[in-house]
């Protein structure tokens, strides 16, 4: 419809933005016209950021987190416990765990979870790399920190079957009550698990 009215570069950006998740044709058009009116600086900074995103980042060849340098800063950090490995689904999970300051070992990022319905199997994830890393490594404990979703738990169970080395401790995060939550409003499953994982005091 509007194709013959709008200059091609404008239409092209609308189309590209419209392909992003959560952005429909209307938002795409609004963002495009915003950038058109904004100063050159802002549009160029965005363009540069997009270029850098692809050109200056890569996956760490050890842990598969996103990084500028390979290996990443975490993998290069000698101050970290080399016997502890935390397996997560996504790079953002690393960020979350780092923020907690509760863990000082190494990571392994799977880049997803097993979900046949979505066509994701072990071969689509960094699982072979994990197994090789554990085989050749010096880990004494592996924390399976996948999400407490059906997919995350299936992945965790699968890893449990694959990582069977004598002397290797496999653990997973405790499932507990949310801090600041209300016992009365906690669902039975969460409460049940919290009860199972109760601790002496």
């Amino acid at each position: 419809m509007a194709q013959n009215v709008l200059p091609q570069p404008v239409q092209k950006l609308i189309n590209e933005l419209g392909r992003l998740p959560g952005i429909g044709p209307k938002s795409a058009a609004r963002l495009t016209f915003y950038l058109l009116r904004a100063g050159d600086e802002q549009a160029l900074a965005l363009a540069q950021a997009l270029t850098d995103l692809k050109q200056r980042t890569r996956f760490c060849s050890v842990c598969f987190n996103i990084t500028e340098d390979d290996p990443c800063v975490i993998c290069q950090d000698d101050g970290r416990d080399p016997t502890m490995l935390c397996v997560v689904e996504e790079p953002l999970d690393v960020v979350a765990i780092e923020r907690s300051r509760a863990f000082n070992g190494r990571y392994h990022v799977l880049h997803g979870a097993i979900s046949p319905v979505e066509g994701v199997g072990p071969e689509d994830l960094r699982i072979a790399e994990l197994v090789a890393r554990v085989d050749g490594g010096q880990f004494s404990e592996i924390i399976l920190a996948t999400n407490p979703t059906l997919e995350g738990e299936s992945t965790s169970l699968y890893l449990q079957r694959r990582l069977t080395h004598p002397g290797l401790r496999l653990t997973r995060l405790a499932r507990g009550l949310p801090v600041g939550g209300d016992l009365e409003y906690t669902d039975e499953i969460t409460l049940g698990r919290a009860m199972e994982g109760r601790q002496a005091m």
């Binding site: 959560g22 952005i23 429909g24 044709p25 209307k26 938002s27 097993i114 979900s115 046949p116 319905v117 066509g119 199997g121 072990p122 071969e123 059906l150 997919e151 738990e153 299936s154 169970l157 699968y158 079957r161 694959r162 409003y185 669902d187 039975e188 499953i189 049940g192």
Partner: protein, 412 residues
């Protein structure tokens, strides 16, 4: 428990309804196609998150509202409840929304649930409001497909046992995953190594479902048998409920499978809470049908293929019973459901009776109305109030339903 106030917005033929509901029995009368059944359906939907007939949820929204040009249309059922544990407000929203990712002109549908005006998960609505519904179509529980009987199990159990409901929902998702994997393995894209993960998890969850269904059906069988024998047939006829758990898939003829499953059902009912034995047997059954599953691309054993049936004097009521015998057994089943819910939760469920009184002879009618009087709240629909005794009419509140509006005649 009872509802003190019901409010409907754009639900079926109700544009807007604000309705006070009294304790005790209330008669909803009016001509056909005025909204009597729709009102009961709204309450049932709020109790179970499902429509009694397997309709699409979207069709519950008032048609005219749904066809309007508004970017967002909301159908709403709200109820103020008084229960043993205090006052509670529950709300279900049916939302049609113009979404950007969906093609122009098409709208996405979603549901929202609020308990005490806090948004919660759909499942968290269950257990707040408990009802027993009587519909003329209930006869399909006896004559219809296994899926209808599973639906009955699920909707009844879910109102009382939230853990069952969560297990069921997780089970269904895992089942979908396992079936997708089986198909992928068949076409060479799936990994056989992953299969045991889903098999194990299904076995763990499925055992819980098997056990809970077995316990439920055993209790229901005892109670329905008692009611049927003592109250409905002058100690002449005996029914029992037989559970047919799909813990096995012999694949050798219906007759043989049936009797085998009856045995498995009895075995299950003897296991009580020992999930281990059930899980072990279930796992063995899964192993036994692994090749079949791979060939079919679907999971052949598990509670998703369960069934149950009513036996009358030793025979299958669905195949051998007369229409009259089927109706009598059904009444016993529903009355047993009321007693089971009351016993399990400590309070009477709300009774919703749609046109059922018309089908009963005088003696049965009197008996059913005793249950109605025993409940803290009951809603009965009828086109013709004359079928009730004057005695009952004196004790019941009365509302007239006409074209999506409700008028209060009298409150007792």
């Amino acid at each position: 428990m009872h509802i003190t106030h019901l409010s409907l917005t754009n639900f079926r033929n109700y544009g807007r309804l604000e309705l006070e509901l009294p304790l005790g029995p209330t008669l909803l009368h009016g001509n056909n196609a005025q909204g009597k059944t729709n009102l009961l359906e709204a309450i049932f939907y709020l109790a179970t998150t499902r429509s009694p007939q397997a309709d699409q949820d979207q069709q519950l929204i008032n048609w005219e509202a749904a066809q309007s040009e508004e970017p967002i249309v909301v159908g709403r059922i709200q109820a103020q409840l008084e229960t043993q544990t205090g006052l509670r407000h529950v709300e279900m929203r049916l939302i049609l929304e113009q979404s950007q990712s969906v093609q122009r002109g098409r709208r996405s549908f979603r549901r929202e649930v609020l308990v005490d005006r806090r948004k919660v998960r759909l499942m968290d609505l269950l257990g707040n409001l408990r009802v027993v519904l009587f519909l003329p179509e209930d006869i399909q529980l006896i004559t219809g497909a296994p899926s209808q009987r599973r639906r009955y199990l699920d909707m009844t159990l879910c109102q009382v046992d939230p853990v069952y409901c969560r297990h069921l929902s997780e089970y269904n998702k895992l089942l979908e995953q396992r079936n997708a994997l089986l198909r992928q393995i068949a076409d060479g894209t799936g990994s056989l190594e992953v299969l045991p993960v889903f098999t194990e998890r299904l076995a763990a969850l499925g055992s819980q479902i098997f056990i809970r269904r077995a316990v439920f059906l055993a209790a229901m069988s005892r109670e329905a048998q008692r009611i049927h024998y003592e109250e409905l047939t002058d100690k002449n006829e005996t029914i029992r409920l037989n559970y047919l758990p799909r813990l096995e898939d012999s694949g050798t003829g219906q007759g043989r499978l049936l009797s085998e499953l009856v045995h498995v059902g009895h075995w299950l009912q003897e296991q009580h809470d020992t999930a281990n034995a059930v899980e072990k047997r279930y796992r063995e059954a899964m192993t036994a049908v692994r090749q079949t599953d791979l060939a079919r691309g679907s999971t052949s054993v598990g509670p998703h293929r369960d069934d149950w049936y009513i036996q009358l004097n030793g025979r299958n009521l669905g195949s051998y019973g007369s229409r009259g015998q089927q109706r009598t057994a059904l009444l016993a089943l529903k009355m047993a459901e009321i007693n089971w819910m009351t016993k399990t939760t400590g309070e009477t469920p709300i009774l919703l009776l749609d046109e059922v009184v018309a089908e009963l002879d005088e003696q049965r009618r009197a008996l059913l109305l005793n249950y109605v009087k025993g409940a803290s709240q009951a809603l009965l629909t009828a086109t013709d109030p004359a079928m009730f005794t004057t005695d009952f009419l004196r004790q019941a509140s009365s509302y007239t339903v006409a074209n999506g509006r409700v008028q209060i005649d009298k409150i007792v």
